[in-house]
Point group: C2
Chain length 202, copies 2
C-alpha cells in the first residue's frame, strides 16, 4: 500500500485525480497532469508505467471512496426510513466535497464498457439485498405502499446523484446562479429523504 513512500508518487496521484476527474480518460493529457504536479512527464511513467494504469488507480480510488460508505448504509441495522435519511445525507455531504467524483465514475463506466466489466468482476460492490428485503417487509407489514423495491432503490440513487452530474443543465433549467444552486443541493439532504418517505408511507 501507499504509506510514507516517496511523496512524489502521492503528488502525481493527487494531480492525476484532479485532471482525470475533470476531463476523463480520453480527454486528460499526461503533460497536463505533470504540469499540475509541477514535475515532468517522465516521472508519471516512472511511477505508474502508463496512462492506462494511472487512470485505473485513480478510478479504483474514486470507486472505493464511495462504495464502502454506500454498502455500510444499506446494510446497517437501521430501519428503512433511517437508511433513506442516512443515505441521502451522507452521500450529498461527501460529494459536495468531491464534486467531480460521481460524474467521473459514471462517465468512465459508460465510455469504457470493457474496462467496466473487468472492474466489476473484481471489485467489491455494495450489496442491496438487505435493503430490498426491508422494503418488502414494510409492504407486507402494511407500513409502506406497494412499490417495486428496485424502483425505490433506483429512485434513491437518481435523486441523490443526478443533481451533481446534471448540474450544468439543471442550473440552467431552474434558472439560478451557482451559489443558489449549491444551496439547493444542501437543501436536498433533507428534501430527498422526506420526498421518498412521503411517497411510500401509508
Amino acid at each position: 500500500m501507499k504509506k510514507l513512500e516517496s511523496n512524489t508518487e502521492e503528488l502525481i496521484f493527487a494531480s492525476a485525480i484532479k485532471i482525470f476527474h475533470k476531463k476523463g480518460l480520453a480527454g486528460a493529457r499526461m503533460q497536463e497532469i505533470a504540469d499540475e504536479a509541477g514535475i515532468n512527464k517522465a516521472m508519471l511513467h516512472y511511477y505508474f508505467r502508463s496512462k492506462q494504469l494511472l487512470f485505473e488507480a485513480v478510478f479504483k480510488k474514486a470507486f472505493m471512496q464511495l462504495a464502502p460508505q454506500i454498502h455500510q448504509v444499506l446494510n446497517s441495522e437501521d430501519s428503512l426510513f433511517e437508511k433513506i435519511i442516512n443515505f441521502t445525507d451522507k452521500y450529498i455531504s461527501f460529494v459536495m466535497e468531491n464534486r467531480f467524483l460521481p460524474t467521473f465514475i459514471i462517465q468512465e463506466l459508460n465510455n469504457n464498457p470493457d474496462f467496466a466489466n473487468q472492474f466489476f468482476s473484481q471489485a467489491e460492490f455494495p450489496k442491496s439485498t438487505r435493503f430490498l428485503i426491508q422494503i418488502e417487509e414494510g409492504i407486507q407489514n402494511g407500513t409502506i405502499k406497494n412499490v417495486n423495491p428496485k424502483q425505490l432503490l433506483i429512485d434513491m440513487f437518481s435523486l441523490a446523484i443526478f443533481p451533481f452530474i446534471g448540474a450544468p443543465l439543471l442550473q440552467k433549467i431552474t434558472n439560478v446562479n451557482e451559489s443558489a444552486y449549491n444551496n439547493l443541493l444542501i437543501e436536498r439532504k433533507k428534501h430527498i429523504a422526506s420526498m421518498l418517505i412521503n411517497s411510500i408511507k401509508k
Copy 2:
C-alpha cells in the same frame, strides 16, 4: 445504416452521431466515423471542415431532439399532475429509442464548460417558469404539500434521466440482467409519475 440517406453528408452525420454518442468528443476518432459510414476520412473534412464543427452539429441535433419536447410539456395547458405524467412517459419512451443521448449531452456539458456556456447563450432553452408557478399555486390551493418547486423540478429530471446515464451502475446494484433492467425502465414511466404525485399530494 438508414437507406433513406442517399446523400453522403447525411450518411456521415448519422455515423458521427453513433460514434460521438458512444465515445464523446475526446474519445471519438474521425477514422472510426469514416469506417462507420463506409467512406474515407477526407470526406468528413470536405463536408464538415473539422472534428470540432462536426461535433457541434451532432451536439446541436441531440439537444434539439430533446429541448423542444420538454419545453412543450412544461408549458402546455395541462394541469400539474398531467404534466408530471406526460413528462415521464414521453421522456422515457423517447430515450429508450435513443439510449446514448442523455449521457452524451450531459457528459459533453461537463467536459467542455466553455463550449457549454457558448452553446447555452445562443440555444433556445426549455422554460420552467410556468411549471414552477403551477406548483406554487397548488401549494396555496392546499392541493399539494409545501415543497420547494425547484426541488420538485430537479426530482423529476433526476428520476427520469439518471436511470439511463447510471445504467451500468444501477444494473449492477439492483442485480438484474440487461433485459430485466429494460423492463424496469419501461415500468418507470408509470412508477415515477405516481411516486412524484404520491409524495406531494395532500
